[in-house]
């Protein structure tokens, strides 16, 4: 089909040499479809090629980063680990560090839909959105530990990241510090970071998730039980204050 609109020869754009030499195309009349195909097709092919090439090149890199991520702790956990290790003199060896992120756990959750799991593991899977743990060992037992300095250093680096210590315990050769985000508002986005030093072994761990499913299960289970501490209290011997009074 020919273009019905008459065009003056002066307004016609110059043709590429290969088209200009084509005898099938009359002078001054260019079929629009042919022109678009000629001008865009090679460019599109080049772009697709580049994208495919980039993907092929990046895929191993992305896989490597993803796999390496399983063995790298998050910044907060890493900071807690560093602060404790720096406060305890000696040479530390890394035993292992594992980090399971939201994507992996999401896939596990999705996979669990196809299985008929009991409510407890199901609630646990729904609760956990990320978890990591690192285990380190000190070569030689330290002569003395300054727990105050350890708490101060850990508090300082964690506070900078928006974490607040909720529990701190130090006794003998044991040290425990538990941190939670300062702006904790809802059980749907809970997070916790823990450091435990026992003799020469240090364990740092962190977990984040939504406690709603676990809470719902716990509430359901507790409904049939008496929550009063009366029974517990009766088993516990009289406290010192009771005796005082």
């Amino acid at each position: 089909m020919e273009c019905a609109m008459p065009m003056s020869p002066s307004r016609v754009p110059p043709l590429p040499p290969q088209l200009a030499s084509n005898s099938a195309v009359p002078d001054g009349r260019i079929p629009p479809a042919t022109s678009a195909a000629v001008s865009s097709r090679p460019r599109f092919r080049v772009r697709t090629g580049y994208v495919v090439l980039a993907l092929v090149l990046c895929l191993p890199l992305l896989c490597a980063v993803g796999i390496a991520g399983y063995f790298r702790l998050s910044s907060a956990t890493e900071a807690l680990r560093s602060s404790v290790i720096e406060s305890v003199p000696g040479q530390w060896d890394k035993r292992f560090a594992v980090h399971v992120g939201g994507l992996t756990l999401g896939l596990v959750r999705f996979g669990s839909l196809f299985f008929n799991l009991p409510p407890e593991p199901k609630a646990a899977l729904e609760t956990l959105h990320g978890a990591e743990v690192g285990v380190y060992k000190l070569h030689d037992a330290p002569s003395a530990l300054d727990y105050s300095a350890m708490f101060t250093a850990a508090d300082k680096c964690m506070r900078r990241r928006g974490w607040e210590r909720v529990v701190g315990v130090a006794q003998g050769r044991q040290f425990v510090a538990v941190y939670m985000p300062r702006n904790l508002r809802t059980v749907k986005r809970m997070a916790c970071c823990v450091a435990v030093l026992n003799e020469q072994d240090l364990v740092v761990a962190s977990a984040r998730g939504n406690l709603e499913p676990l809470l719902a299960l716990a509430t359901q289970r507790l409904q049939g039980h008496d929550l009063s501490l009366g029974d517990v209290r009766r088993r516990v011997p009289k406290t010192e204050l009771d005796r005082c009074q």
């Binding site: 003395a144 210590r165 315990v169 300062r182 508002r185 009063s228 209290r233 010192e240 009074q245």
Partner: protein, 189 residues
Amino acid sequence: MIGTVTLCAAATLALGAGETLPGQVDFGAFSAPKGDGEFVEVNVPTGLIALAARLVEKEQPEVAKLLNSIKLVRVNVIGLDEENRAALQKRAQKIREDLAGKGWERIVTAQEKGQDVSVYLKMADKGAVQGLAAVVMDGKEHAVFANVVGDIKPEQLAMLGDKLHIDPLKQIGDTTQKRENKPKEKAEE
């Protein structure tokens, strides 16, 4: 005594924010003992209290209501040794003096076999308990400093003591409630 204080605190734990609340006591920072001495510090955020409240709200709505009224709790247990004993006794004495000077009511005093227990209450004008502070020197073993901040009604304290079978807490609640009722009775007369 430590068990009781810890139990009371554990039932009503919460974390304070940066600003000082009316019933908040600044115990200052504590250092862990150098040797094998015990050191425990607990600050539980409000979020966890809300969680605990949700856990019991169906079975015990009054306890859930009380938990929701708690704003802050801090508990420190420090093991005493030769190095820190004198300093901690001095600090405990200073805290007691400060509390007395700031209008806190000393409602429990127990001194027996080296134990020195003091429990203070800070009351609001409308009769609610704004803060509860406990300073305990447990012989030669521990020093305990606890502070509960909130907007707690005296009957809630008594109820909690009753539900959890913690007689001292029940007594505190009853005493506070009686004190609150006295002016009303006088006004009626």
